[in-house]
Subunit: 382 residues, 2 copies
């Protein structure tokens, strides 16, 4: 197992505390983990459609040391025939993880890495989901947990943090400010960094959602896979997961992965549309979808490169369509999603209207968080 | 498959609209479903520790017709060595169901029964969890859904209802009032009844949690299993599930099942302690644990009979201990529970203090709902 910089191509071996490419001199994540794929013995019958994510241990960068691994991943993929205008609709419900979000897939990798490398404290900055995920996933481990969140964090996520007993720093300002402050404090104190956009190993946890989709579809590859995008880490991870199963000979192609951003929080889309070289920008953003309200996306280079090479794309949707999508999704499928989790449905509807996705398609929507995290989004108390 | 009245012993065959024993003339649930156990071919290797609840279809009263069966049951059983004062602690996390509560196990049975028996509308009364569960589980079915809830329903549960598009009747008064009104309207209109305490088939869905615990423990029977109690349906279902696996020869004994009630909502405990004949009473109750704030428990006879014959018991805990238990549970295990879900831990601590449970025991705590349903319980917005 090694790491390669997606910008300059420099290669690294796994070593304690290595997060970013020294040659590129950046805290933006550009390192990508690779394996000796040719030597791996992996076959379709090794995997189960209901087992949790650590069934893929061979393809992960660290062994499991956690007590809660059986509660992470292995989330249901629900199938709906002729739904929302497509013949075959699948919904991957990652709101059914331990902390009720996709982020648990990254948190368990971080906790396992921190334990294996001998750290005593782990930290992260977060719009909310990564924070509550880390606090709950690490609660049963020997690690101390330090969290940095903006004051705009929704009630459900704050309640999770309060219950889990982590040290919580509420940063005056945006997620982007919380991110900067977390890196300053975390690295100064020598803590383990669970910021997905910086730590290359976390992508490895997140990619398991793509593996699970393929196993659950009995290795039929969907035409499209839609997911919400903030920093850009989740979309990179899904593309990497699909690509790896192709590389391992388990499937013969990868789906078109489409990222969905909020209209007024679409920084990554702007960078991607401008084309190479992908230069990060920083702007003020706002959206009902707190999880993807990111004005300075930290995984911009990786996300753009993965999207370009796999034929993926990015679209933006207005907040009112996201809000409508929460209700439509729950009403038709029974899945109650937080705003970012429902954004892919808003994106699907736009692409169908534009004729860019056809009715005959098999489409996967990835729901990244449970609506219970932010009941205020549809008009209740927030 | 047939039904037997646990009060008078009268037997019935399964028939449309049959909910209660006509001889006993009561709307309190006394009917219990039984199977021709001796003729059933069931073996340990038929079941998986990660598969959802419909893997037990042979032992359920109705086939699956739902699109969301893969998202119900199959919840993780987490293991913690030397935790909370016992050597082997297991936590069954039913907050990881589709609607984030145990109630989905009953809702899917009700939806499947209503579809099979040709109903077009299904109704229920609920403190909140059964309502949001039914609304989400039935959303993708052809059924119309009508809900009756008290105005005290917490924010998360109301948000789920609002998203799912069910018809919601907010009843001025308590859960007990909502229950009475639901039966009046529901039976008058000829709708299918998803009130667990009345409909005997719903216990069959709930009992699968006991099956799963035994499969996940590799058929080692725990010494104690603790669960919160309101109406009394959940505890009856767990005892029935354990008893059935014994009857089928899959295990050789049943655990001691202990129900935990809130100090000021302990009606069922009073009835049980008075002994036979178990006469239902009605009183004013209040507790932080909304899910078990039941002043007129509807499943009192079944619960008391199941408890008495299996050697189980009931204990009560004050609200402040439930509140503490939410934080202790999350801090040690990473599981964030709603108040009723954390009550079993408060019960365990009391029984350990009293020497009624020993350190050497294997103890299962059943967490029936996710803390995200009621973030206000630990001091956030409610």
């Amino acid at each position: 197992m090694g790491l390669t910089c997606i910008s300059c191509g420099r290669r690294y071996t796994k070593s304690k505390g290595l997060y970013y490419c020294e040659a590129c001199g950046s805290l933006l994540g550009t390192l990508v983990v690779d394996y000796e794929y040719a030597k791996m013995e992996v076959s379709r019958d090794m995997f189960s459609s209901t087992a949790p994510m650590y069934q893929f241990e061979k393809l992960l960068p660290v062994q499991n040391h956690s007590k809660v691994a059986s509660a992470i991943g292995g989330t249901p993929l629900l199938f709906f025939e002729d739904c929302f205008g497509v013949d075959r609709l699948y919904v991957k419900n990652d709101g059914m993880n331990l902390s009720a979000s996709f982020k648990d897939r990254a948190s368990i990798i971080a906790v396992n890495m921190a334990i294996e490398e001998g750290y005593d404290t782990i930290f992260c900055a977060s719009t909310g989901n990564a924070a509550s995920s880390l606090a709950l996933v690490s609660a049963s481990s020997p690690l101390q947990t330090v969290i940095f969140v903006p004051s705009t964090i929704p009630s459900g996520k704050m309640a999770q943090l309060r219950a889990a007993g982590a040290e919580v720093n509420v940063v005056a300002g945006s997620y982007d400010d919380a991110f900067d402050q977390s890196l300053e404090e975390g690295f100064k104190n020598g803590w383990y960094c669970r910021n997905s956009a910086v730590n290359p190993y976390l992508l490895e946890g997140k990619k398991t959602a793509a593996y699970e989709i393929l196993v659950q579809m009995n290795y039929q590859v969907p035409d499209y896979c839609l997911v919400s995008v903030g920093d850009g880490t989740v979309i990179s991870s899904l593309i990497k997961g699909f690509e790896e199963f192709k590389r391992l000979g388990l499937v013969d192609r990868v789906p078109c992965v489409i990222g969905v951003q909020a209209e007024h929080a679409s920084t990554l889309t702007k960078v991607f549309k401008r084309g190479e070289p992908y230069i990060p920008i920083r702007e003020d953003v706002h959206s009902i979808a707190d999880s993807i309200s990111v004005g300075y996306p930290r995984d911009v280079i990786k996300a753009c490169k993965f999207l370009a090479r796999s034929g993926g794309d990015l679209v933006t949707v207005p907040d009112h369509e996201i809000k409508d999508a929460i209700v439509e999704l729950a009403t038709r499928t029974g899945i109650f999603a937080e705003p970012a989790g429902a954004a892919p449905l808003a994106g699907l509807k736009q692409l169908l209207d534009q004729g860019r996705i056809q009715k005959e398609s098999a489409v996967v929507l990835v729901v990244t968080g449970n609506g219970l995290k932010d009941p205020g989004a549809i008009g209740g108390n927030s």
